[in-house]
Symmetry: C3
Subunit: 129 residues, 3 copies
Amino acid sequence: MTSEILGQLPKLPKTGVINIFTKHTSSWTSQAAKPSGGLSINENCDPDVRIDMETIFNRLVPENQPNYEHTLEGSDDMPAHAKSTLSGVSITIPITNGHLNMGTWQGIYFCEFRNYGGARKLVVTIIGE
Amino acid sequence: MTSEILGQLPKLPKTGVINIFTKHTSSWTSQAAKPSGGLSINENCDPDVRIDMETIFNRLVPENQPNYEHTLEGSDDMPAHAKSTLSGVSITIPITNGHLNMGTWQGIYFCEFRNYGGARKLVVTIIGE
Amino acid sequence: MTSEILGQLPKLPKTGVINIFTKHTSSWTSQAAKPSGGLSINENCDPDVRIDMETIFNRLVPENQPNYEHTLEGSDDMPAHAKSTLSGVSITIPITNGHLNMGTWQGIYFCEFRNYGGARKLVVTIIGE
């Protein structure tokens, strides 16, 4: 979703950083209310990377484990919280000469860890001069 | 520990970010000297989430594995270092309109990964204007 | 690599943060082109910690799994992408009184997750006043 974000940014400062943070809607009844997404930087070239990332995260934190306590919101809820901590909920990217200074093959991933996540809200903060 | 931190902050800038970083005391003899805690953002509503997070982290990086080399400081020491890298030792949260711009159900977790961790020191840096 | 980075920094501001971000060369033919390294803060005292971190990461995301799709660039490529997301590709460290405010035993790790990673490029951004 690198281009989706880049397309909505104002003119960037010459030097600084951009912080992107996953927020969640405040509706208690909405699945999207809970911290269960993550942000990461990874290869943006081969779409197979996304499939394998999901395979690997599902193996690291499987659903339906008998010792989970927090199961009221569905079998994918607690695993989503743990995956969110593993990937992190914010990323900070340097700005150099007015552009995001990422590698050519780096892209911004939003990792949806719920099976039906709904809309997600991001906060983007630009710091620099 | 969101409210513990919020209660000690000065007036925040209108826009910016806050960075929270886990530091450690410098006493070599203290368990708290080593990087073995983490910071994360996760659901702050159901306390069961904390129990399950511990279960999941303990399964990901179990104690007493035969191939660990760094065991002098106890069986929980090397797993704590690894968990600390998995969760991260700092978090950055956006400030919008003078308030931390987190979701309603997001809270700040300090993850103590040692069995007897002692006091931990955090550095909070506020950036913005 | 804490001292390598510290040795190349200009005079730091009194208060602020430093962000370190792993970038990658743009050559498509180079292994170093892909996001497959990570940055972390961990114990800088006992070198055994580094050995165990590698053991643990290799157990968490093993090579040569039958269900990986992204295998064209070698068996260590997809695991490297996943490890990179688990550790993160940037770190933010507070600056207090003109110095990096880390704990005595905390050091900056560059985690090379490819078997033959080549040169890596870091972007260091200093923010503060």
